[in-house]
């Protein structure tokens, strides 16, 4: 057995001598991200879809870290996964009643969508492998940490570029790229507007006429009514007990 294991090891020795852990981790995260993305499409249960999406986006954050974009990776985890997806999961929980948990599509729609998706994928993959410079890095160097330059860029100061008119820029004013102060402020105001708008849209309204779901519930029997009561009390609990 030891002779066979040595033989096997000898056969694999040259590749084992140079395992690039960055590549291994990249493939791990990439496989998880893509497999979970495909699982989102293939799953029927909406709660499971949400869970696979969480896994996929978490793996994407890992990919961001591997590419050296640490700030973007942490931001993906905090805002996208920890904020947007929590919001999505809340929405799923509030609407995950038995008839809607697993809605199936007709097979003709599925074939058509599959064909379109396959065509798009072929086009994208082809373009990805067309440029030689994208295939292999010449020298893999992690580069400087990007949190501070990114922060400064959001304040309007580009520290990674030579300043306008400086000798490093050849005295030219045109090479400098501005910071991102204006988009930053716009996005801040945008988020505020969205917050107010979404809160207004989804507010709990006092109704004098019964809601469509209550009507549907009362028409289908006590079981669904109980589920509706549970759902409305869940939303009441979440919104702090107000009617």
């Amino acid at each position: 057995m030891s002779g066979a294991s040595i033989g096997l090891l000898a056969a694999f020795a040259p590749p084992l001598a140079a395992i690039n852990w960055h590549s291994v981790l990249f493939f791990l995260f990439a496989v998880v991200a893509c497999a979970c993305a495909v699982a989102v499409v293939l799953a029927d249960n909406v709660v499971r879809m949400a869970f696979y999406l969480v896994l996929s986006l978490g793996a994407t954050a890992g990919l961001f870290f591997l590419a050296g974009a640490e700030f973007v990776g942490a931001m993906q985890l905090m805002i996208y996964v920890g904020g947007t997806l929590v919001l999505l999961v809340f929405g799923v929980m509030l609407t995950a009643q038995a008839p809607f948990v697993a809605i199936k599509t007709s097979s003709s729609d599925r074939v058509l969508a599959g064909l379109v998706g396959a065509a798009l994928l072929v086009v994208l993959l082809q373009s990805a492998f067309r440029v030689d410079a994208w295939r292999r890095p010449a020298v893999a160097d992690p580069g400087p940490p990007t949190a501070t330059p990114l922060g400064m860029a959001l304040l309007g100061i580009r520290v990674d570029e030579p300043a306008a008119g400086s000798p490093a820029a050849g005295g030219s004013v045109a090479v400098v790229r501005n910071g991102y102060l204006l988009p930053f402020e716009i996005v801040s105001v945008h988020l505020l507007v969205v917050l107010v708008g979404a809160a207004y849209l989804a507010r709990a309204k006092r109704r004098r006429t019964p809601r469509a779901i209550d009507v549907a519930a009362s028409s289908t029997g006590p079981e669904t009514a109980a589920r509706e009561a549970r759902r409305s009390s869940t939303s009441a609990l979440v919104s702090g007990g107000r009617p």
């Binding site: 499971r48 931001m75 929980m93 940490p145 300043a163």
Partner: protein, 427 residues
Amino acid sequence: MADLLINTFGLPDWLAWSVTAMVAAVLILNVIAGGALVFIWAERKIAARIQDRLGPTRTGGRFGWLQSLADGIKLLAKEDLMPEGADALLFRIAPYVSFCASFCAFIALPFAFDVVGQRLNVGVFFVVAVLGLEVFGVILAGYASASKWSLFGAMREAAQVVSYEVPLGMCVVVPVMLAGSMDLVTIGEKQAGWFTNWYLFHDPFTFVIFWVYVTCAVASVNRAPFDLAEAESELVAGFHTEYSGLRWSFFFMAEYGSMFLVSALAAVLFLGGWNGPVPVARLLGLSEGTGDTAHYLVRLVGCGNLLLKATLGVLVMMWIRWTLPRLRIDQVMTTCLKYCTPIAAAMFAGVLLWQLALPGGLVRGLPHWLSRPSGEIREGWLEGPGGRAVRRSRTTSGPSQAAPRAAAMPEPSVSRPGSHGVAEVRP
């Protein structure tokens, strides 16, 4: 450590890195699991003493040392139940999601100078982000249990954790602002020296922010008085009602792990991290070069300091749990939105103004402020070469802006052990 393996033992690169990673992972796992063991025993003893009784006194001697082990054996031997209407995959996977979130946050937590799983430039951001992912395990557990108690508990907890992330983020930004970096190693290193260097004593606003952080951290990990998710008197056991045996113990390892993590984070951010109250190593003149035995000893003591501070934090959390009554969900939300968030925002603004007027903290900044010349425009403190703070003042606009801009680019995060804290440039 990888360099040690490569240079001393001649291991190939990839093997050295994988061994290092595995050692780090095993160590962190032991911190969480061993910590959970100790904390469960400590919780029972503290709860007992606060309630004027004794607690475990039989298993393993007079103090019940082995009570946690007995609990663990009992949990392992329990029947693995799953409710009939439960979603099998989600029910099974929920405890592991919670535990993974708690575990992954330890990757970026430093235990001493440069003793960290992965030294991230955005360490603070990463830890707070991953802490917020624990809520998924809770929601999945609540939904997949197919029981209304679990669902209610899960939704309450999710709302609570997500709401308290806002003031928690604001509280955490204050030490980042004081240190000028999100790197946890840098933040801890800046507080080296006497205990007056700790950010807790930097200015009164940071002092208040620390207590707001404690409140938000206790709420984030769902400890009493914010533990509605597990409110035994109301919801049976909340989101983990249907869990028993090993699956339940994963939830609790996640909870104790998170408690330890937020305490360790508070220690690094506010309480000086691995620096003791007295800078013994510096007074003794111990060299801090790499590879030195004294250097390793200093780091070991640093680890011990941090573990001690984090354990104290956890014990304080236990003390609070068994002293204060539980808050209702609307009271929890009121505390977050009407108290914690405005106070955190106001204190944040206060620290901002303090930094502009009196950088360097109360102890070192006041003499400097009292002796500064009048009529000088100060831009603020930035990292110059050598890890020292340079004052950058705007003189005129135009071509001279190129020089301050180039100087504004801080050094990449290589903070030498010799540069203790922020050194002021005398005018």
